[in-house]
Structure formats: C-alpha cells, structure tokens
Amino acid sequence: MNEDLLDIICCPLDKSELELDVRDRDDGEIVSGTLTCTECGEAYPIEDGIPNLLPPDMREETTA
C-alpha cells in the first residue's frame, strides 16, 4: 500500500483514525506492517502490501 491510503482508511469498527507501523518497505510501498486504531486499539495487519481491515471476527488466524 501507498502511505496516502492512510488519509482514506479508518477503523471498520468505530471509524477512528489508524496509526501506521511499518515493518517492511519496498520502493516506497509498504509491504508489511500494522495499522492500529487510535480509539479501540484493534490492530490490523498489512500483508504482502495489502492491508487487512477485516473486523477481528472475520479474520482468520494467519500462520507465522
């Protein structure tokens, strides 16, 4: 994902802002990391460049 996407997306549960924590970057693009809700604290993973904003009850456990 591009960092600009942060201006658009929010927490699917309470629509609050998300805080970005980058783990891995490739040529400006964020490949892996975490988006954390500044209100409820729910953490959403970024995997293979794609943020996973499925609410926790719909997210399958990812194997490490």
Binding site: M1, I8, I9, C11, D48, I50, P51, L54, M58
Partner: protein, 234 residues
C-alpha cells in the same frame, strides 16, 4: 455469505478470469465495463470505491481512465491477482487494494464520488445492510447490478458453486427506498444468461449476442433480461 470459502481459495482466484471471461465471456466483460462507464461517466480525477472488486477487472479499467480507485474484497488471493494486474497495467499508483467487510467499510462517511459493486448482490445475504454502507461512504453515485428473478438465469442458478440470489424490480426499488437512494437510471440485458456465453466459442458468441440484444430491444425485452444495472444517487 454464500460460497465464502470457495471464493477465497487460491486456485479459484487464479482461474477466475480465464473461466469466466475467455470464449463468449469476453462479450460479457465488455458489456459490464460499458455499464460501469455509462453509470459513472468521465472518471478522471474522481475517487471511486469498488466493493467486492475480485481480481480488479473494473478497478484497473477505472484507474487507466485517470480515477483514483480503491478496491475492497474479502479474499486475499483475489486481491493478489488484482495487484499483479494493476502493476502490469502501470496503474499501481492510482489503485489501492484492501481486504475488508462490505458490511463494515473502513472509510469515513461521504468520502467517494462513486461506489460500485458488480456481481456482488447475488451473493449478499443481507443486501440492505451492504447497500446502506455503500450509500454511507458515497457522496454521489452508487451503482450495482443484480441477476433477475423470472429470467433464464433461474434455469441454471441451482448449479452454481456459490448459489445466487435473484431479484425482481420490485425488490430492488424497495431496497433503494429502505436505504434512501434515488434510482436515476437502469439498464436490462442478457436475455441469454452469462452461463450460456461462457460455454460457446468466441466465433459464434457475437451471433448469439445479436439475437440476444434484438430480443432485449422488443417491448417486453426488459422483462426477459437476466441482468439489470442500477444507477443511483445519494
């Protein structure tokens, strides 16, 4: 949601386009893209969200026409195909994919110029809740299609891997009322259903397509159509 596991399998995602949009299916692809462009007009510099974007057929086309597009889908493997396609088309800078729930969209109110969902509502178990989320995040246009009750679609519907919810005109207008959307345009097409075109070679498809559109243009043609495109405003 129907067929969720089927839809999210890697091999299904990899074969998805080949199975549906080669052979006679190419005509379907073209018609659907035209329907989207008819509904949302010139898209340059507009912000567009597609719900259930799958492998990115529409998102890539819209990004190529200068829109800033976000594609949302439940399936990681489908989005992976979309990302590769966006890169190949050179539009990755104008197109973002993310996984999310269509019933709880991770966007603020009134954010997009247009929100579209193609081939989504036939899988929706609670269509009103999804449509109302689309309306919430759009400031102008909401566009979607349905497969119709009382059409040729009914004949092979039972055989599909995901099942399929069919709608009548009355059901769609009631849904729009319920969520507060105004219908501004509707098109009805495909007297011969999608499944038929997928089975026939491209060489004969255009002949059947001609028969199809001729039937569809008759006075009762709309009522025979298996697909409807609904263009709405907030």
């Amino acid at each position: 949601m129907k067929g969720q596991e089927w839809y999210q399998a890697d091999d299904i995602a990899e074969e998805y386009e080949e199975k549906r949009f080669s052979r006679g299916g190419r005509l379907i692809d073209r018609r659907e893209k035209q329907a989207v462009l008819n509904a949302i007009g010139p898209v340059e510099d507009s912000e567009i969200l597609e719900i259930a974007c799958g492998t990115g057929r529409f998102t890539v086309m819209l990004a190529e026409r200068g829109a800033d597009v976000v594609g949302l889908d439940i399936s990681g493997p489908m989005l992976k195909q979309g990302r590769e396609k966006a890169r190949a088309a050179g539009v990755a800078d104008h197109l973002e994919f993310l996984r999310g729930d269509a019933g709880r969209l991770p966007f603020p109110d009134d954010h997009f110029d247009a929100v579209i969902a193609m081939r989504f509502f036939h899988l929706a178990d609670t269509p009103a809740s999804f449509l109302s989320e689309m309306r919430r995040v759009s400031r102008e246009i909401v566009f979607f299609d349905t497969f119709n009750r009382f059409s040729t679609r009914s004949i092979y519907n039972w055989a599909l891997p995901m099942g399929s919810r069919l709608y009548s005109r009355w059901e769609v207008t009631r849904l729009l009322d319920e969520v507060g959307l105004e219908l501004v345009g509707d098109e009805h097409d495909f007297v011969l259903p999608y499944g038929f075109y997928r089975q026939i070679p491209n060489s004969t498809a255009s002949t059947f397509r001609k028969i199809d559109t001729t039937l569809g243009s008759l006075p009762f043609g709309d009522r025979l159509a298996s697909v409807s495109y609904w263009s709405c405003e907030v």
